[in-house]
């Protein structure tokens, strides 16, 4: 059976400050939502694969976030950690509907 997909409203676009992250807890899942400089929204798992740094607090630069703990650089689109570090985190699809941000789980 194909897993169910949930569409979850996490708040209005205006509540997410530009070039900053926001922590969203949806049930047991902790997700970091970012609004990039170009207006796009990205959603990723909120924990760094290195030592669990909180990614929502990282510095956002273009399509990347730098983990606040030890500065790993992570691509917000595909979740890949940039070389020379290694690893990957989960990314979530997002949509914007009538100014509301929706995360698809």
């Amino acid at each position: 059976m194909k897993a169910m997909r949930y569409r979850i409203k996490v708040g209005s676009l205006n509540d997410i400050p530009e070039r900053l992250g926001k922590t969203v807890k949806i049930g047991p899942n902790e997700i970091a939502i970012f609004r990039l400089a170009n207006g796009d929204i990205r959603a990723i798992e909120n924990r760094c694969p290195h030592k669990g740094g909180v990614l929502a607090e990282g510095m956002v630069s273009g399509e990347y976030v730098y983990c606040p703990m030890h500065d790993w650089k992570i691509n917000l689109k595909d979740g890949k950690v940039q070389a020379p570090d290694f690893g990957c985190i989960k990314t979530y699809e997002t949509e914007i509907q009538n100014g509301e941000v929706i995360v698809i789980l």
Binding site: I8, V10, L20, K22, G53, M59, V60, P68, D71, P84
Partner: protein
């Protein structure tokens, strides 16, 4: 012309260096494919020792990053092993089922660490020390366990052991011989080394053969042949390496200990070459990079069809990369009837030197304690120089000529990369190089083990004279730009730039939106240059400075309110206690800065914790003034000569909240006993009878440095005036993230003194500082007052749903 297909197996140090040489000789001749078993771009294996010792990080040891492969149109398959070669069809076959045709094939598969075939060697907690993976595994282990053992007291073993100590583990080194590094040192030097390392905290088991590794699944201990057992949780095997010849073996390419090559690095199979630690040349297999790079040069010429002299083998030298211990050895080190020695031993300073001479020629040397002569001796050994040449150069030095000035142009400065003095001096002059980084980029000097960095710096200084020091500031601020800090500041001023985005766009940044290095730096520079106009960009601040609290490893924060001069009162303490109870603060701690830390506060609670405390932010998270520690002073202490508490409080109130290039710490003591530790502060004040002494550039942190006496003044007002001018000069001239201790050394104490000696200059600096101060507010209060800030930065969204 269609390109020839060149395939390299092994993305390591020797192989990739050979490719670099080939690209230099014939940039367009080959279509290059590289297979590397490790999932990283080409990195500096040598520096793994430094990574383990905490001096550098894995991401800083990359030699050629992914971009380099792209720039040279090299197809790299990282994490892919070549498992077979079919020489007749000129094909290689990989672990991922890929088949690739070659016209020329280079094998550079390096070595494998030798693992003792003893019972228990496959238990969890036994590791080699060869690659990034090993290094990470060791670091992981060090966090969970306390006791470690290194088997093998050679170079690699001792470097690993030093790393383990730095990682906080207890370390036992087990060694078969009766003294350490017995292949590179004589017994005297080996014993000196042992004494030094024992002082550093290592424990040694000499003349011990390990018989068995104990434990169930995990390592529990070691048992030696004599029956003795020691408990350990981690075992690093560093007993030697063996050339990695498996691929050659399977593919029918002749080998002995290593893959057999001739003087042109050709194997006995057509169009297949071998280079590096996997190759055996004239019955020798090498284990350090200098000879491998020489091989690479010869091979590159051969493959490109250029004339070259044959490779005839190399002399090697070794140096131990353990801080605080200087050891050097080269050539033959054991005396016999035909060999005479020059020896000196300074027991008091722990300096030992032995030079070995046969038929009047220098053939080897061992140095302990002072290895400054290492390179020169190595050069003399390589050309089998007359001992007379050595004694002569010693005399020159005593006459006051600097070492780099006296040596000949063809002498080698960088042993690893074989770079001669003449080449470096030439490059500096013809290319206008001004920094060690640039020399490294242009000539390869200091690119591998880094041991010759100081000689390269000496050469820069010798070639450029005074210009060198000033020029040093010209490093780009990060890899997003080629501009240095000074260039950027100049442009910001001239073009009147006012936002980080604008700076990056106008100055042609290579990245769209900067990185975690340049963004905070630009934010600082802009704020420093336009104190009244600039709107601080919180998104360009590191989390701590954005949220005004220190992030903890679990994502909670710490709260450190100001306690000016380390002075508090009962009412304040009561409020702190109440807050701690109300918010269930897990840890209340006295900091090293004379105040109280509430550790483990949830982010959402921060604004109300601050409101309930009713105290201003202590900026314990900021590139800003941290604390002003004070001692008891003359109101109570029997030795006190001045009111240190009042002085300290005035300083803390005056200089708090200003953005600085790095954090700034201060202290005021009331007599030279210096109970507030003013001697290791960015700015320390010591009261003496009728005067205040000001010390600068002290640091009690990573790079311990005692402050220098800057001046003596009479009154508290003069202290504030001098301190203000000093801080503003630091703000205006330091690189972002440069502590005063480094800055003072870069600019020179005398230079700073001479600038601040002028009263008008001081006044102008203080005016600019006061301007900055005039608009600063307490950030905690600002947050408490602004619902907007609270919502944007401190609120987490909680959606209670049930999802499986």
């Amino acid at each position: 012309m269609t390109k020839q297909k060149l395939v390299l197996v092994g993305n390591g140090m020797a192989g990739v260096r050979t490719i670099e040489e080939i690209i230099k000789l014939a940039p367009d001749r080959f279509e290059i494919t590289i297979f590397g078993r490790e999932p990283y771009p080409n990195y500096n294996r040598i520096q793994l020792s430094k990574v383990l010792q905490g001096d550098t990080s894995i991401k800083d040891i990359t030699i050629n990053d992914w971009q380099w492969y792209e720039d040279h149109q090299i197809l790299l398959y990282p994490g892919e092993t070549v498992i077979n070669i079919y020489p007749e069809d000129q094909l290689v076959f990989t672990s991922k089922g890929r088949k690739v045709q070659y016209d020329k094939l280079i094998l550079a598969t390096g070595s494998l660490p030798f693992m003792l075939p003893i019972p228990g060697a496959n238990k969890e907690g036994v590791t080699a020390f060869r690659d990034i993976k090993d290094c990470e595994r060791i670091i992981e282990y060090s966090k969970m366990y306390k006791k470690s053992a290194v088997i093998g007291g050679g170079l690699l073993g001792l470097e690993a052991a030093r790393g383990l100590l730095n990682l906080g583990m207890e370390v036992s080194v087990v060694h078969l011989g009766d003294y350490l590094m017995d292949r590179q040192l004589d017994k005297t030097a080996g014993k000196l080394l042992q004494k030094e390392l024992e002082l550093q905290g290592m424990k040694f088991y000499l003349e011990k053969q390990t018989k068995e590794i104990l434990g169930d699944q995990k390592v529990k201990g070691l048992r030696f042949h004599d029956g003795q057992e020691i408990p350990v949780d981690l075992v690093v095997m560093a007993v030697g390496i063996k050339p990695n010849i498996q691929l050659a073996k399977e593919s029918g390419i002749p080998f002995n200990r290593g893959i057999l090559v001739n003087d042109w690095l050709e194997t006995q199979a057509p169009n297949i070459y071998a280079v590096g630690e996997c190759a055996e040349h004239r019955e020798t297999v090498y284990g350090v990079v200098a000879p491998l790079y020489e091989q690479g040069k010869v091979l590159a010429k051969r493959i490109c069809g250029k004339e070259s002299l044959p490779y005839k083998g190399s002399a090697v030298s070794t140096q131990l990369k353990v801080s605080g211990v200087d050891v050097f050895s080269a050539g033959e080190i054991f005396e016999n009837e035909q060999i005479k020695t020059i020896m000196s031993y300074d027991d008091y300073r722990g300096i030992y030197k032995k030079i070995l001479i046969r038929d009047g020629k220098i053939i080897g040397a061992v140095l302990f304690g002072d290895t400054g002569e290492g390179n020169r001796l190595f050069n003399l050994i390589k050309k089998e120089a007359d001992i007379f040449e050595y004694t002569l150069s010693c005399r020159n030095e005593q006459n006051g000529c600097s070492l780099v000035a006296t040596i000949a142009d063809e002498e080698i400065i960088c042993g690893c990369n074989g770079v001669k003095k003449g080449t470096i001096v030439n490059a500096i002059q013809s290319q206008g190089l001004t920094t060690v980084e640039q020399v490294k980029g242009y000539t390869n000097a200091s690119r591998s083990c880094g041991g010759c960095k100081s000689s390269v710096a000496d050469l820069l200084e010798y070639t450029l004279g005074d210009q060198f020091k000033r020029q040093e500031q010209n490093e780009p601020i990060c890899s997003c730009t080629t501009l240095s800090r000074d260039d950027v500041i100049k442009e910001i001023r001239e073009k009147v730039l006012t936002m980080t985005m604008e700076v990056m766009r106008v100055l042609n940044w290579k990245t769209e939106d900067g990185c975690s290095k340049c963004r905070p730096a630009l934010n600082y520079y802009l704020g420093m240059l336009h104190p009244l106009l600039y709107q601080d960009e919180r998104e360009s601040r590191f989390v701590n400075e954005r949220l005004h609290a220190n992030i903890q490893k679990d994502g909670t924060f710490s709260v450190v309110p100001r306690m000016y001069g380390g002075v508090t009162n009962a009412e304040e303490l009561r409020r702190i206690a109440d807050v701690a109870e109300k918010y269930n603060v897990p840890l209340i701690k006295l900091t090293g800065g004379q105040r109280i830390d509430l550790v483990g506060v949830k982010k959402e609670d921060l604004p109300s914790v601050w409101a309930d405390l009713g105290m201003p932010s202590g900026f314990a998270y900021g590139k800003s003034l941290r604390t002003v520690k004070t001692c008891v002073g003359d109101t109570f202490c029997r030795f006190g000569t001045q009111d240190s508490i009042a002085m300290g409080i005035r300083m803390e109130r005056k200089f708090q909240r200003i953005s600085m290039p790095h954090k700034v710490k201060m202290a005021v003591s009331a007599c030279p006993r210096n109970c507030a530790e003013s001697g290791i502060k960015d700015l320390g004040v010591v009261g003496v009878d009728g005067a205040w002494e000001i010390y600068v550039g002290g640091n009690g942190g990573t790079h311990l440095r005692a402050g220098d006496l800057f001046c003596r003044v009479k009154t508290q007002e003069e202290v504030l005036e001098m301190a203000g001018a000093y801080l503003q000069y630091y703000r205006e001239t330091a690189h972002y993230l440069e502590r005063t201790s480094i800055w003072v050394e870069r600019l020179g104490l005398e230079h700073i003194k001479s600038i601040l000696a002028d009263k008008d200059t001081r006044q102008a600096l203080n005016e600019r500082l006061d301007e900055t101060l005039s608009v600063l507010k307490d950030p905690w209060q600002e947050t408490i007052n602004s619902g907007e800030i609270q919502k944007e930065l401190y609120k987490t969204v909680n959606i209670p749903v049930d999802i499986k």
